[in-house]
């Protein structure tokens, strides 16, 4: 049986596209017929919940009661995949809280699949977060997500700067999220539906909608590229990882 998998999507900087990436992940798992649940820590508003109301719950990840709601139910929930969209500024503190409750240790022992999607903006301040987070994530699958919200190069033109940040964590994998056309992005915002619904010209209730074919085409093309990245890093293999035998867990 596949072990529970937790995907933590976060950044300490705001406006770098955390929720957008979380939405693409929910759509990706949905497309792979993988049951998924999501927690939106943007309490009390909840942007992720607006797009995926059926699977998303708004929580305050700094509160013990809500931490219990997420982590105590990992083994018992129908959905084996949990996506947590961490509010801006809370990534480091959430990771510390996970260490405190022994979650990081459980992941180290192979009882839980744990992946961190660290969403980076095109600024040095955003890149500096990598060092701060790196110490805490431990053995988790660590994805450095370059979200091209504009035409930034993430300092690729300057190998010294680039390597000093992106090569800091051994085993970290880079993911690129291309830029989505602004008009298409705004149209999906207005529609408040998952990307796959928008592409399929469906509203939130699943009924036929009337979105622009051109914008749907742009979103389909963009989402295809994002999913190609997820395929490249073999995300589904990560989710399908089986629980290691209990003896080995005990030994750990």
């Amino acid at each position: 049986m596949a072990k529970p998998a937790v995907f933590l999507i976060g950044a300490d900087k705001g406006g770098v596209g955390k929720t957008t990436v979380a939405r693409t992940l929910l759509d990706y798992f949905g497309a792979h017929q993988t049951a998924v649940r999501a927690f939106d820590t943007e309490s009390p508003r909840g942007t992720l919940k607006r797009f995926h109301p059926d699977v998303t719950e708004v929580v305050d990840v700094t509160q013990v009661a809500d931490q219990m709601k997420i982590f105590d139910t990992l083994g018992s929930a129908d959905a084996k995949v949990t996506v947590i969209d961490v509010r801006a500024g809370l990534l480091s503190s959430t990771l510390r809280a996970l260490t405190d409750i022994g979650f990081i240790d459980s992941a180290k022992k192979g009882q839980i699949t744990f992946a961190v999607f660290h969403i980076l903006g095109p600024s040095i301040a955003s890149l500096q977060e990598i060092a701060e987070t790196a110490d805490i994530v431990g053995d988790a699958s660590y994805f450095l997500v370059k979200n091209f919200i504009n035409n930034a190069t993430f300092f690729e033109w300057d190998p010294a700067t680039y390597n000093s940040y992106f090569r800091k964590i051994r085993g970290a994998m880079e993911l690129g999220v291309p830029k989505l056309n602004e008009l298409a992005c705004e149209q999906v915002e207005v529609a408040s539906v998952p990307f796959v619904n928008f592409i399929g010209n469906k509203n939130g209730a699943g009924d036929a909608a009337n979105y622009s074919f051109v914008l749907r085409g742009y979103v389909r093309h963009w989402l295809g590229n994002v999913w190609n990245e997820y395929d490249r890093v073999k995300l589904m293999d990560l989710v399908a990882a089986k629980q290691e035998n209990t003896a080995r867990q005990a030994a750990g």
Binding site: N181, L183, A184, S212, F213, V214, L215, R216, G217, Y218, R220, H221
Partner: protein
């Protein structure tokens, strides 16, 4: 499905090969057959199509997304109106790029429309390669090579093989210069030529022009039937 719900794209990466003339003929062919038609002029220095067909043709521009929405959302609308697009040589590459990126042909097929690219054949390398690449870039579009006889004998015909079922070379016969002086003057309509004698055209010229239009319309009729037959065959194959 009939050509009523077709989307006909007249294209070539080369200038002055007869694209607008063919676009006018396609629109007038629809009008002649009492069909509703809408035409879009994607020429940088557009307006020629609209000058001849003010009630049916509009200027289009796909440089930005708003322009792309105005054109492509209309092209895939299943409204029973035949669509003709005159893609100027400057817009050819961006048209194919955008169409392929947004999945235009796939969406058109899904909506039971029949997209076809009427490609003006010329011997140059760019055109030959562009025609070849169409199959890969827009596989759900039927490429129809068109030979404009005024460009000379088609010794290069083998470089433009028909692209799948329903595709065969369409011949556009030479329109004599003596006739062009009438047909190139707005508001001349090919749709009216076979039935109405214009006052300013001498009778013998009118008869010659009528004969030419009938030849072209016969070519277009046959093309329409080939596309229709190919579509029927493919839908029968899907059912069986």
């Amino acid at each position: 499905m009939s050509l009523r719900s077709s989307v006909l794209i007249v294209a070539s990466p080369r200038p002055r090969v007869g694209k607008t003339l063919l676009a006018r003929l396609l629109v007038d062919f629809q009008i002649y057959n009492d069909r509703e038609v809408a035409a879009f002029d994607l020429n940088a220095r557009g307006g020629a199509l609209a000058q001849f067909l003010p009630r049916h043709a509009a200027l289009a521009d796909i440089v930005d997304v708003k322009g792309q929405m105005a054109l492509f959302d209309r092209l895939v609308a299943d409204d029973g109106v035949a669509k003709v697009v005159d893609v100027g040589h400057e817009a050819f590459e961006s048209f194919v790029t955008v169409a392929s990126k947004i999945g235009f042909a796939e969406e058109a097929r899904r909506r039971r429309l029949a997209p076809a690219v009427l490609f003006m054949t010329t011997p140059d390398f760019t055109s030959v390669e562009s025609y070849k690449a169409l199959a890969a870039r827009m596989p759900q579009v039927t490429p129809v090579p068109v030979h404009n006889a005024i460009l000379g004998n088609a010794q290069y015909r083998d470089k433009y093989p028909p692209g799948g079922p329903g595709s065969a070379l369409v011949q556009l016969p030479i329109l004599a210069p003596a006739l062009r002086k009438f047909s190139d003057r707005p508001p001349f309509s090919f749709a009216q030529a076979p039935t109405t004698a214009a006052l300013d055209i001498p009778l013998e010229k009118h008869l010659e022009l009528t004969h030419w239009v009938r030849r072209v319309f016969l070519e277009l009729r046959e093309m329409e039937l080939r596309l229709l037959l190919a579509d029927l065959q493919s839908s029968l194959e899907i059912r069986s």
